[in-house]
Amino acid sequence: MHQRRYTTLGMLAASVALNAMATAMVNAQEASTHSLEGKVIGVTVIGTDHHWDLMAYRGQIDQLEELGAEVIALDAGRNDQTQISQIQTLIAQQPDAILEQLGNIDVLDPWLQRITDAGIPLFTVDTSTPHAINNTTSNNYNIGAELALQMMQDMGAEGKIAVFNGFQSVPVCKIRYDQLMYVLESYPNVEVIQPELRDVIPNTVQQAYSDTNDVLTQHGPDSGLKAIWACWDVPTIGASQAISDAGRTDVKAYGVDGSPEFVEMVADPDSPAGAVVAQQPYEIGRQAARNVAAYLNGEDVPPFTFVSAVLINKQNAGEVAGPFLPQAGDGAQ
């Protein structure tokens, strides 16, 4: 008995020590003053038309410039061909490192390989690829599972879900979707409506509004439909509006990212927005830049760095949603 108690206490102590170490590591990274003076760093992103994308992009540029780097910042305007051309020219420019943020992995991977083939260190933001030295992101495995479990709780573990699944080619979306499906394996009374919905870019909100309207028409109040899920939270803005406009109180929307508009909806007790996992894109961008600085100053950099994310639901919104709301300012997250 004593032995067990000591073991438990020992584990607890070890866990506290590990946590303290982890915190210390994060603090050490945050306090990093590695200089990038005289270095040229390329930053390539697929687009900046959404809050998350723009914040992460700005975070990288701000931190790189603060550390003294010359930044070649390239926004492909959500066009794959433009991004490929920009990467191709970037390789010819031979920068000291390249940071790549989001995009379709099937399109990008051969070109990311060309970056490493050219001897340029590659770092990614929210994009897992074997070609990158480090990927700075949120823990999307946790995010996917946490959001799915919150949804199960709200649904009472039974009913139907309409799922937006248009971005399997974006790695973080695939992880969150796979985690949802994994959680659903434990809840046989929950059914995903087929065919799944397709979220789109551009016109994400409008299209999601119209698709949700169709789903609500097909699945009336007695159908068991209780949730709309998306791997990000721009479609869920449209979905929530459609649910509100249809006067339905039996359906809630769930998403990821922490776009201020959607967080505001979750914080509103009357809105059908159920929950959101809010990330810190600006901090993710800054952390990615610090990783580049550490690497170029001869330090070892781990294959991935996670920046924490927060689950915001109807119950805890009052306490935790504050920094993610629109009036909190852009730089806060």
Binding site: D75, Q93, D106
Partner: protein, 332 residues
């Protein structure tokens, strides 16, 4: 007496000034192109490296080939956007062809069948344009706009608006292969350009197509079946959409949405191309230069560290200037 002598002199003077202004604009266009290239060569580090120059050609290939399709439509129907012909469907058509190719490849049909199907799809869309413009006599601007929507809709049906990844040894060769130090994509651009310059500027077929576009009634009076040539021009544009779609898929390793967004740069290249020709008419050589010009701008801006946000805006201003100058000179 004085008037009879003065009149022809006056007309001659007008003609001369017209010709002079055309010459000035044409030389100005060449000088601007050359000036920008020289400026980039001096100011932008790495611009003149062989690797970068090949990059520019490669990056201009897809735009250039699709602009060739529109150029052929312009040649066969005249460049007057309101009364002449235009193909607004070409970018959406290329997107549809890429989707057909990718879907068939995913289903295991292999390159040969998939490529033939993609090109056939492009030509059918071209045929549809011809049917709407020639047989149904719908204004080309509206007819091809409608066909653009049909093509874009079919692409969505096929892909469900998702990315369809494709891999094959052939695509690998097209995307990353090199011969004599020049990439396969660049070779495609060079070879197709040479073939088209020959076919349109030097073959009887090309001359007849110019006759049809230059003066429809006169060509008909001379015994040319004008309708067939207009049909052929649209079908050829569809053919180019099909061929280019394979290159698009090879470059992106997938069929992706958003190919339709290329429409404006394509039209810009085809219209800009007229400035590089002697009589301000559409030519393959002119379009080739215009596509390279647009490619040089994007590349040079990036090398100079000018924000990518400026590229589209400056391209737009240049196009506006060129189109304004051209129509001004034509009025003269």
């Amino acid at each position: 007496m004085t008037t009879t002598i003065d009149a022809p002199n006056g007309r001659e003077g007008q003609l001369n000034s017209g010709n002079l202004s055309k010459l000035a604009i044409r030389l100005g266009a060449f000088a601007a192109f050359a000036g920008i290239v020289i400026y980039f060569a001096i100011a932008a580090r790495g611009f003149t490296s062989p690797f970068n120059l090949t990059n520019i050609v490669e990056q201009s290939t897809i735009l250039g080939l699709l602009a060739f399709g529109v150029t052929v439509v312009f040649i066969g129907t005249g460049t007057d956007v309101q009364r002449g012909g235009i193909d607004l469907s070409i970018a959406a058509n290329a997107g549809l062809c890429a989707a057909v190719y990718a879907v068939l490849m995913r289903q295991g049909f292999g390159d040969a069948v998939s490529i033939v199907a993609a090109i056939a799809t492009g030509m059918i869309i071209g045929l549809l344009n011809g049917l709407a413009v020639v047989t149904l006599r719908i204004i080309p601007l509206l007819a091809t706009l409608a066909v653009m929507n049909i093509a874009a809709g079919l692409e969505l049906v096929l892909t469900e608006n998702t990315v369809i990844p494709v891999q094959s040894p052939l695509l690998q060769v097209i995307a990353f292969g090199r011969f004599l130090g020049i990439s396969t994509l660049a070779w495609c651009f060079i070879v197709i350009s040479v073939l088209l310059i020959w076919a349109l500027q030097y073959s009887p077929l090309g001359l007849r197509l110019y006759a049809v576009g230059g003066h429809h009634e006169a060509a008909r009076a001379a015994g040319i079946r004008t309708g067939r040539y207009v049909y052929a021009a649209y079908i050829f544009a569809g053919f180019m959409a099909g061929v280019t779609s394979i290159l698009i898929v090879s470059r992106l390793s997938a069929s992706t949405t958003g190919t339709g967004l290329m429409l404006l740069p394509i039209l810009a290249a085809a219209l800009l191309g007229t400035v590089f020709s002697r009589r301000f008419i559409p030519t393959i050589g002119g379009t080739l230069l215009a596509a390279l010009f647009i490619g040089v701008l994007a590349n040079g801006f990036q090398l100079l560290g000018i924000s990518s946000y400026w590229v589209a805006g400056v391209q737009g201003v240049l196009i506006l200037c060129v189109v304004a100058m051209t129509s001004f000179a034509k009025r003269d």
